[in-house]
Subunit: 151 residues, 2 copies
């Protein structure tokens, strides 16, 4: 069984448990996020789906509704860009955080054990029941630093 099949089954179970329906749109959105690793805004995702499935009618509202559902189900994750909206990505096997380049808006993923562990320590200190976290380091990526000197 592929990873995608496993995720699909678990999504269907979540739907059933909550009296929700498994629709073509929901399947396509999930599949598209799975097949295209990367970070997408809802609009980007809509364009991608429309290109890939020209005969499917699908609206931006459904994208938003489904993304919300998938996020609550812990199948996908989002990262916020302030007033500039959110980007979504398939919730990969292992959690990671991001380096955000302020020049080219690129996201670089990283995973760091020390930080993960320290979060637990901090939560305990405040008797805080941690359900998630986001850690973003802002700055300029190597590529953009290089470009600057070439100008």
């Amino acid at each position: 069984m592929t990873e995608y099949e496993r995720v699909l089954i678990s999504f269907k179970e979540i739907l059933k448990e909550n009296g929700l329906k498994f629709t073509t749109q929901r399947e396509i959105i999930l599949k598209t996020l799975y097949q295209n690793s990367g970070h997408f805004t809802p609009e980007e995702l809509l364009s991608l789906i429309k290109e890939s499935y020209p005969t499917l009618t699908i609206g931006i509202a459904t994208i938003y509704r489904t993304l919300g559902l998938l996020e609550k189900s812990n199948i996908i994750e989002s990262i916020s860009f302030g007033a500039k909206g959110k980007k979504y990505e398939f919730g990969t096997k292992e959690h990671h955080d991001h380096l955000v380049c302020l020049e080219c808006e690129k996201l670089i993923e990283f995973y760091d054990d020390t930080i993960e562990r320290q979060q637990e320590v901090i939560s305990q200190k405040f008797n805080f029941k941690m359900t998630g976290h986001s850690m973003n380091i802002f700055g300029i990526c190597q590529e953009c630093q290089d470009k600057k000197y070439k100008k």
Copy 2:
């Protein structure tokens, strides 16, 4: 000289250096953020100012413009709530991160040396020129956990 006086002078210097003007509105916004420790949305700040200075006319646009200015000047800091906007706080002496309660939306501040240091390590690993970061731990605060059991 009080801390506020020092900040005010440095703000005035930044304004002068950039050919900008020191206005009543800018002063009131800075003073209000300084005097009211806490995290405010632009709208909340506007209400607070209107209550405190009933004779002053001030619009939401000025709040946004001044908050942007103060943030670029490193006098205040912001934390983003995705599509739900940003909250601003006076840039206290030492940097800190936040525990965000998903139940009551309260922010709890913390400072953790291990995390701060580890960020430098990660940035170096990716040849990333770090200019800032945000780390938010999401979950349920102790108060809200208690409430849940009392219901």
